[in-house]
């Protein structure tokens, strides 16, 4: 039953991705000013939204780990697995943001990159979470998960700064399309394709987040079994 539900979810997600692509390429009109290059928004903005959401999941997991680590070892491991999965999949989506953005910028602005507030804070966010993943990969010892949780919490502090950066400061990056100042927004003919792609990328993100979480939980169980076996061997000597 569980396998059927997972298969069904994956099938719906793939269908949504195909539908989102169709909407972005064949239904949405070209932008009057930017032409076809505007269509990058249908991948760029949903990727940024999903990255923010998953960094928030990483934050909650990190807080959960610090809260549970002394009294509820099982819950702490679950929280830690969510923290890692959220950070890693968030980095994947943030990488998409940092590659599609410059491709758009090269055509729209004539430059690949500029050190404006939105771009710089996004790069810093990516670097923090890459550091988080490197810490988890190369640090050893019982303190590793605690250090990672603290770094995960600090990293998440950058998310609201990234989100607000083009509201707080004048930036080269375009002003917010949704929830921005008066006159912001999107043509009605583009809203549908945009929302379909938001839904599709959200569904895709949740799917790979779930896979990453399952992989990490399996890793934790193998590590626990190996640690127990080592203890058993030690007690026999």
């Amino acid at each position: 039953m569980k396998k059927l539900a997972i298969g069904l979810y994956a099938a719906v997600t793939v269908a949504l991705m195909v539908w989102g692509y169709y909407q972005a390429i064949y239904v949405a009109p070209n932008d009057a000013m930017q032409g076809e290059i505007f269509r990058i928004i249908y991948y760029h903005v949903p990727s940024a939204s999903v990255a923010f959401l998953f960094f928030a999941i990483s934050l909650i997991g990190s807080i959960g780990y610090l809260g549970f680590r002394r009294n509820h070892a099982g819950w702490a491991q679950v929280s830690d697995a969510w923290a890692l999965a959220g950070a890693e999949v968030g980095v994947v989506f943030c990488t998409v943001v940092l590659t599609t953005g410059p491709l758009w910028g090269r055509r729209a602005w004539g430059i690949w990159w500029t050190w404006d507030a939105r771009l710089t804070t996004t790069l810093v966010l990516w670097l923090i979470y890459v550091s988080y993943l490197l810490l988890r990969r190369f640090a050893a010892g019982p303190q590793m998960q605690t250090l990672a949780a603290v770094l995960g919490i600090f990293g998440a502090l950058d998310v609201p700064i990234v989100y607000m950066s083009n509201r707080w400061w004048r930036t080269q990056h375009p002003a917010p399309v949704f929830g921005g100042s008066e006159g912001s927004g999107m043509a009605a003919s583009m809203v549908g394709p945009f929302l379909w792609n938001m839904l599709a990328w959200f569904a895709w993100g949740v799917m790979i987040l779930g896979i990453r979480y399952a992989v990490e939980r399996q890793q934790q169980k193998i590590a626990a079994r190996e640690a127990q076996a080592a203890l058993d061997e030690g007690s026999l000597i």
Binding site: V96, T99, W104, R107, Q218
Partner: protein
């Protein structure tokens, strides 16, 4: 199509292709990791 429209098209295609390369590359890496873990789990001592 004029030159600017052709370039716009190429950049848009590049952005979409890179997005899918990153996403599918990550999923493939996860699949390999999962398979390696299954092998490790089979070898690991049973608790």
């Amino acid at each position: 199509m004029d030159q600017a429209a052709i370039l716009d098209h190429q950049f848009r295609v590049a952005a979409y292709a890179i997005t899918w390369a990153i996403q599918l590359g990550y999923v493939a890496w996860l699949g390999l990791k999962w398979r390696a873990q299954k092998r490790n789990a089979a070898r690991a001592p049973r608790g």
